[in-house]
C-alpha cells in the first residue's frame, strides 16, 4: 500500500448536531487500513472505546463536548488529529488554546471516542482522564488510563492493561507473550486468561484472577488480597506477594508442585496433602511438596493468611 500521511483537523470535518449544537461537535473519519492495521490513540479527558470487527476499514467517531452551553466556544480549543502512515493510524487530542477567552481554560472540554477497527489490528490506547474499553482485537492490545477504569475483553494478544487510580478488568484474554496488568489504587480482576506469562499487581487494591492458564504468573499487592483460581502447569512458576492481604490459591490437583509459603503474623492453611520438608516459626513458614513437585509456588504475606484450596 502506498504510504500516505493524512492530517486532518476537526474544523474541516465537523458535523454539527442540531440538538446539541452549542455543547457538542461530532467528528467522523473512515480510513482504509487493511486487515492488519495498527492504531495508537491518546486522549486527555473523555472515554475511549475501541472494538474489533470484520472488514478492512477503520471508523473513527468522536464527540467533543462541554458541560455548559456558555463554554461552547471552548470546543474550538481542542482538535482531533488523525495521521495515517500505511496501515498505521495515530489519533490524538490536541489542546490548542484556540477559542479560549481571557482566563478561560479548555479543561472543560472532553472528547469521547468510539473506534471500530479490523479485528487483526494492533491497538495502543493512552488516556489521562477517562475510561478505556478495548474489545475483540487479535493484534497486540495495550490499554492504559491514568484516572479512569480500563476494561479489556476478548483479545488474542494482551500486552498491557494498566490504570493509576481506576480499576482494571480483563476478560477472555489470550497472550503468547508477557501480559502485564496493573493498577495503583484500583482493584484488578482477571477472568479467563491464557498467557505465556502474566504479571498482575496493585498497591492498595485487591487482585483477583479466575480461570487462569499460564506457565508463569506473578501477583503482587501491598495492602490488597491476592486470589488465584485456575490451573498450574508442570514446570510452571507462580509467585504471590502481599504485605497485609491474604493469599488464596484455588488450584487443581492434576499437577504436583513445590510450595514455599510464609507469613509473619498470619496462618498457613492447606486442603492438599502436603509432604512437609520444613516448617518453622510456629507454622508461619512452610516448605512442602504436593505430588511430583513439578511446578513451583511461592506465596508470601506479612500479616495476612496463606490459604491453599483444592479446586
Amino acid at each position: 500500500m502506498k504510504n500516505t500521511i493524512l492530517t486532518t483537523t476537526l474544523a474541516a470535518l465537523l458535523v454539527a448536531s442540531s440538538a446539541w449544537a452549542q455543547r457538542e461537535e461530532r467528528f467522523n473519519r473512515t480510513l482504509d487500513v487493511g486487515p492488519d492495521a495498527a492504531l495508537s490513540i491518546g486522549n486527555i479527558a473523555g472515554d475511549i472505546h475501541v472494538e474489533g470487527g470484520p472488514g478492512s476499514s477503520m471508523v473513527i467517531d468522536a464527540v467533543k463536548s462541554v458541560e455548559d452551553e456558555g463554554d461552547a466556544e471552548l470546543l474550538k480549543s481542542v482538535d482531533i488529529e488523525v495521521s495515517q502512515l500505511g496501515n498505521r493510524v495515530r489519533v490524538s487530542t490536541e489542546h490548542t488554546g484556540k477559542g479560549r477567552r481571557h482566563r478561560d481554560h479548555d479543561g472543560n472540554v472532553s472528547v469521547s471516542y468510539r473506534v471500530k477497527v479490523p479485528k487483526g489490528t494492533e491497538v495502543e490506547i493512552q488516556s489521562v482522564s477517562g475510561s478505556v474499553l478495548l474489545v475483540g482485537v487479535a493484534g497486540a492490545a495495550n490499554a492504559q488510563s491514568v484516572s479512569g477504569d480500563v476494561r479489556v475483553t476478548d483479545v488474542s494478544e494482551l500486552v498491557q492493561a494498566k490504570s493509576v487510580s481506576g480499576n482494571v478488568e480483563v476478560l477472555r484474554a489470550r497472550s503468547g507473550r508477557h501480559a502485564d496488568i496493573e493498577s495503583v489504587s484500583g482493584e484488578v480482576l482477571v477472568e479467563d486468561i491464557e498467557a505465556n506469562e502474566v504479571t498482575v499487581s496493585s498497591v492498595s487494591g485487591d487482585v483477583r484472577l479466575q480461570g487462569v492458564s499460564s506457565q508463569r504468573a506473578s501477583l503482587e499487592s501491598v495492602s490488597g488480597d491476592l486470589e488465584y483460581t485456575g490451573s498450574i502447569a508442570a514446570s510452571g512458576r507462580y509467585d504471590f506477594q502481599t504485605h497485609s492481604g491474604d493469599v488464596v490459591l484455588t488450584i487443581g490437583d492434576q499437577v504436583g508442585f513445590e510450595l514455599e509459603a510464609s507469613t509473619f503474623s498470619g496462618e498457613i492453611e492447606s486442603e492438599f496433602t502436603l509432604k512437609t520438608t520444613s516448617r518453622a516459626h510456629t507454622g508461619r513458614r512452610l516448605s512442602a511438596v504436593v505430588g511430583d513437585g513439578s511446578a513451583f509456588i511461592e506465596a508470601s504475606t506479612f500479616s495476612g493468611d496463606v490459604r491453599l484450596l483444592r479446586r
Partner: protein, 240 residues
C-alpha cells in the same frame, strides 16, 4: 562452528547436561583450545560443587536458603525452563561470591575458615545481604524522590493525592517490616515483605516520574524512554 567464546548460559547448560548432544563436540573442541573458557567452566563447576557442600539449612536463611536450595536441587531445576536457569545464574555467582567473601572475612577475623554448616555464618550472610539490598533501594528511592520534589505541583492535585496515599501505604509496610525484623531479625516473611515494599516504592516513584513527564511534555513517548532509562540506572536488581 566459529571459534567465538560460548555464552556463559551455554557453558552452564553443558555442565547441567542440558546442552543438545550435537553441540558437545564443537564446544569441547573450543574448550580444548581456549584457556579462558576452560577457566570459566571450572569456576562454574566450582560453584556447583561449593553449593553441594552447603547444608540444607532451616530458617532464618530463607533468602540464602532459596539460593542454596536452588543450587542443591539443580537436578530438579533442570526440568524447568532454560530461561529460569539463565535467571538463576547471576544468583549462583552472587551466592558463591557472597559465600567466598564472608568466608574470607571470617578467616581474616578469626584465623579459621568457617564451615558451610555454620548457621551463624549463614545468618550473618543473610543479614548482610539484606542490608546491602536495603542500601541499594534506599539510594534509588532518595534519587527518585529528589526528582519528584523538583517537580512538585506538576501533577493534578487529585492524582498527586492518590499517589501520595499509596506511597504512604508502602511506607507503612516498610515501617512494619523493619519493626518486625528488629524484633525477629531472622524472620524470612519480614525480610521478604521489606524487600517487596521497597521494590513497590521504587516502581511507584518511577511511575510517578513517568506521569510528571507526560503532563509536562504532553506526550508519553519521551517519558517512556526516560523511565526506561531510569529503570536501568536505579533498579537495584539491575546488575550493571
Amino acid at each position: 562452528m566459529t571459534d567465538e567464546h560460548p555464552e556463559i548460559e551455554r557453558l552452564n547448560e553443558y555442565l547441567d547436561q542440558g546442552l543438545d548432544p550435537r553441540d558437545h563436540r564443537p564446544l569441547e573442541t573450543h574448550l580444548s583450545r581456549c584457556e579462558e573458557c576452560r577457566r570459566t567452566l571450572e569456576e562454574l563447576s566450582a560453584i556447583v560443587h561449593a553449593a553441594s557442600e552447603l547444608p540444607e539449612v532451616a530458617p532464618p536463611e530463607r533468602i540464602w536458603e532459596s539460593i542454596a536450595a536452588s543450587l542443591i536441587e539443580r537436578k530438579s531445576l533442570s526440568r524447568r525452563s532454560s530461561r529460569w536457569r539463565s535467571a538463576l545464574l547471576p544468583a549462583l555467582a552472587a551466592a558463591a561470591a557472597l559465600f567466598v567473601g564472608v568466608s574470607l572475612w571470617l578467616v581474616l577475623r578469626t584465623g579459621e575458615a568457617p564451615t558451610a554448616a555454620d548457621p551463624e555464618a549463614l545468618a550473618y550472610m543473610v543479614t548482610e545481604e539484606l542490608k546491602a539490598a536495603e542500601s541499594h533501594y534506599d539510594k534509588a528511592i532518595v534519587g527518585l524522590e529528589q526528582i519528584i520534589a523538583q517537580n512538585d505541583g506538576v501533577l493534578p492535585q487529585e492524582l498527586a493525592s492518590v499517589l501520595n496515599q499509596n506511597l504512604d501505604l508502602i511506607e507503612n509496610a516498610i515501617g512494619e517490616s523493619r519493626t518486625a525484623i528488629a524484633t525477629e531479625p531472622q524472620s524470612t516473611a519480614a525480610q521478604e515483605s521489606l524487600l517487596q515494599a521497597l521494590r513497590s516504592k521504587v516502581t511507584l516513584l518511577q511511575n510517578t516520574i513517568l506521569l510528571i513527564n507526560e503532563v509536562r511534555k504532553g506526550q508519553g513517548d519521551n517519558a517512556l524512554d526516560l523511565i526506561d532509562e531510569m529503570r536501568k540506572t536505579t533498579d537495584p536488581s539491575n546488575p550493571i
